[in-house]
C-alpha cells in the first residue's frame, strides 16, 4: 500500500491526473465532469485531485477550459528509446477509438478513419502492429462465454465446467478501467458482478509476450516491449495493476527463461495525444503516409472488435457471441440497434432458444455510459436486488472510448451551457 494513499496497491500508479496550480482558475468546470467528486477546492481557489477518489478517466483534462489538468505519467521518451533499441521488439497495441482521432493532431478533419496511415506511421517509427481489435475479439469471446455460463448457472443451476465458483448476475463488463476502479472504490460489494475477463489491452499484452513472442515475433518474451495506444488515461493506471503480469507467470510456469523480477503484460501506455507527440518527435507526418497493412496475424479482426470504442459496442458484440453460442445458428441480422446511440441508459431484451437446455431465454441487457450522470441508479438497483438486467455494459466516458480522456482535446468547445446557466458561482 502506498504510504500516502488509501486505495492503491503497491506498484499501482496513484493518480494519473493532476492539476497545474498555475493554470487553474478555480472555475469549477472540471467538477461538472468528474464522476467521483475527486476534484477538491472551493470556487475561486486552486483545485486539486483527490487521488484516492480519482478513477483516472481524464474527463476533467479534456474538458477544462484552461488546460490545467495534466497527466502525471509521460512515457513518450521511454517508448522512443525502446524504438531506437534494435534488441527490443516494440509492439504497438492500437485501440479502436484511436484510429478515428489520431488524424486530428496532424491537421485532418475530426473523425477521419486513418487505420492504414496509422499502421504505416507506426511501422516507420519501429512498432510491430497488434491491433487491439484482435484482442477485443478475444475479450468478447471470453466475456460472452462467461455471461452464458453465469446465465445458465442462474437459470438452470449449471455448474462450472472446471469447478470453482460462478459469478452472479447481472454481469458487468470489465473493459473500462475507470469503471472497474469506480466499482472497487465505491461499490466493492459488486466486484463479483464484474466480468473476470481482462480488458482487450491486457489480453493483448499477455498474448504478445507469450504466443506472440514464441510464434509470431520469434523472440524471447522479455525482449518484447508492449505499448498500449489508447484513447484513455485510465489505461495507464490499468497497466500498472500488479495482477497483470500473466505473461511472466506463464513463462515461468512453463520453464521458460523468465527473469526473477516480474514484468508487466503492458510496459507503457500512450494516449492518442502521446502517440501524436511521439510521431511528431520522430518527424513522421501521419497525414502524409500511404495506407499500409498491419502485416501480422495480430492485425486481423472482426467488426465486433471494431465497435468496442463506442458506447453499446461491447454489448452488441457480446450479444452476437451469445446468440451464436446459445442457439447454434448464425445471426440473420447482426446489428442490435437498441443498444446503439447516445442515450444515457439504453436497454434491450433479446429472446433466444438455448439449444443445450431446449428452452427459450430472454436476456435483458443495459448499456450505460457517462457514469457521472447515469450509473448510480443502476448500481443501487443491483445492490438492492431489484435489477431487471442480466448483463450491463458500462463505459465511464460520455459516448464511450471515442470520447476518452486520452483523446485530442477538442478546440471547438462543447455544449453544456444549459447545465451551467442555472448554477453559476453558487453551485
Amino acid at each position: 500500500m502506498n504510504q500516502e494513499t488509501k486505495t492503491y496497491r503497491k506498484g499501482e500508479i496513484p493518480g494519473i491526473i493532476a492539476i497545474n496550480a498555475r493554470e487553474c482558475k478555480g472555475c469549477d468546470a472540471c467538477k461538472r465532469f468528474c464522476p467521483t467528486g475527486a476534484i477538491t477546492g472551493m470556487f475561486g481557489t486552486t483545485h486539486r485531485v483527490d487521488v484516492d477518489r480519482c478513477i483516472s478517466c481524464g474527463q476533467c483534462l479534456i474538458n477544462c477550459p484552461f488546460g490545467a489538468p495534466y497527466e502525471t505519467v509521460d512515457p513518450v521518451d521511454e517508448v522512443a528509446a525502446k524504438l531506437a533499441d534494435k534488441h527490443v521488439t516494440v509492439v504497438g497495441i492500437i485501440a479502436p477509438a484511436v484510429r478515428v482521432a489520431i488524424g486530428e493532431p496532424f491537421g485532418m478533419p475530426a473523425g477521419s478513419l486513418v487505420t492504414g496511415k496509422m499502421y504505416s506511421a507506426m511501422k516507420k517509427a519501429g512498432f510491430v502492429i497488434l491491433d487491439n481489435n484482435f484482442a477485443a475479439d478475444l475479450t468478447i469471446m471470453e466475456e460472452g462465454t462467461e455471461f452464458i455460463q453465469r446465465a445458465r448457472h442462474a437459470l438452470f443451476g449449471e455448474k462450472a465446467e472446471h469447478g470453482g465458483g460462478i459469478g452472479p448476475l447481472p454481469q458487468f463488463t470489465s473493459c473500462c478501467p475507470a469503471w472497474v476502479r469506480f466499482v472497487e472504490t465505491n461499490y466493492p460489494a459488486l466486484i463479483p458482478n464484474l466480468s473476470s475477463a481482462k480488458s482487450p489491452q491486457q489480453m493483448a499484452g499477455a498474448v504478445a509476450k507469450t504466443y506472440g513472442a514464441a510464434q509470431v515475433f520469434n523472440v524471447a518474451p522479455e525482449s518484447v516491449y508492449t505499448v498500449g495506444i489508447m484513447p484513455c488515461t485510465a489505461k495507464k493506471f490499468e497497466a500498472s495493476r500488479p495482477e497483470f503480469q500473466s505473461a511472466w507467470h506463464f513463462t515461468k510456469e512453463k520453464g521458460g527463461s523468465a527473469p526473477s523480477a516480474p514484468y508487466p503484460d503492458i510496459d507503457a501506455v500512450l494516449t492518442t495525444r502521446d502517440l501524436a507527440r511521439l510521431l511528431k518527435k520522430m518527424k513522421i507526418n501521419l497525414a502524409a503516409e500511404n495506407d499500409a497493412e498491419g502485416g501480422t496475424l495480430f492485425a486481423e479482426y472482426t467488426g465486433a472488435g471494431t465497435i468496442f470504442g463506442n458506447t453499446g459496442g461491447v454489448m452488441e458484440a457480446a450479444l452476437r457471441t451469445a446468440w451464436v453460442v446459445l442457439t447454434g445458428t448464425p445471426l440473420s441480422k447482426i446489428e442490435f440497434t437498441a443498444v446503439r446511440g447516445l442515450k444515457g441508459v439504453k436497454s434491450a431484451a433479446v429472446t433466444l432458444r438455448d439449444r443445450k437446455y431446449g428452452k427459450e431465454v430472454t436476456v435483458k441487457v443495459a448499456v450505460v455510459h457517462d457514469i457521472r450522470a447515469n450509473i448510480r441508479p443502476i448500481v443501487e438497483e443491483v445492490m438492492a436486488g431489484r435489477s431487471p438486467y442480466h448483463f450491463i455494459e458500462v463505459m465511464n466516458c460520455p459516448g464511450g472510448c471515442i470520447n476518452g480522456g486520452g483523446q485530442p482535446v477538442c478546440d471547438t468547445g462543447s455544449s453544456w451551457i444549459g447545465r451551467v446557466l442555472p448554477s453559476f458561482a453558487w453551485s
Partner: protein
Amino acid sequence: MTESSFILKHPLRVRVFHYLLAASFLTLAVTGIMLYFKLLAEPAMNTAMQVHVVAGVVLTMDALAFFFLAFDRVVLFTKRTFTFSGNDIKWFAVLGGYPQKILLHKKVDVPPMGKYNAGQKLFGICVLVGGTLLILSGWVLWALPHAVPHGAASMIGSIHLYASWVLILFLFVHLFLGIYMWDDFKAMFVDGRIPYEDAAEKAPLWVKNDLRRLG
C-alpha cells in the same frame, strides 16, 4: 468666491455612475489581486471570488445603465477622449507639468486642453476599451467557459488579466492626481461643481468653446 463663480463639471448621472464604478472597480481590483497571487487561505479565497463576481455584476449593471440612461454623456465622453490635436503631444512632452509642479515646485508652460487633458484622454480610452474587455471576458470566464473554444477560453483569460493590470496601474495614477486636484475630486464626489478659475486654468479650451452661461 461667489456662487456664480462655480461651474457644473460632473452632472448627477455621471456622479452616480462614478460612485458605483469606483466602488465596484476598487473591489474588483483588490479581490482580483488576491485571486491572482493566491494570497489567502481557501475559504477566504472562495469569499474573494464570490465578492469579485458580485462586484463584476454591479460594474456591468452600472455600465449598462449609464450606457442606456445617459447615452448622450457616453457619446460626448467618447468623442472627447478620441479627439486629438498637436497639443496632446505637447502636453505629453511635459506630462501636463505635473512632475515639475509636484517634484520641483516649478511651473512650466502647458498647452491648452479641453475638458480632458491628454493624460485623461488616454485613461478614458483605456477605461472604454479595457473596461469593455474586462466586462465581456469576465462574464465568459465566470458563466460560460465552455461556450467558447478551449483556446479562446485561455486567450480570454489572458485578456482579462492584462486589461485588469493596465487599468489597475492607471488607477493608482488616477487616484493620486484625483486627490492632488482636490477641487475636481470634491466635484466628482460631492456636488459636481468646480471653481471657474480652476476650470479656466486647467481646461481653457473647454471653458472657451463648450461652456455656456445658464440663466
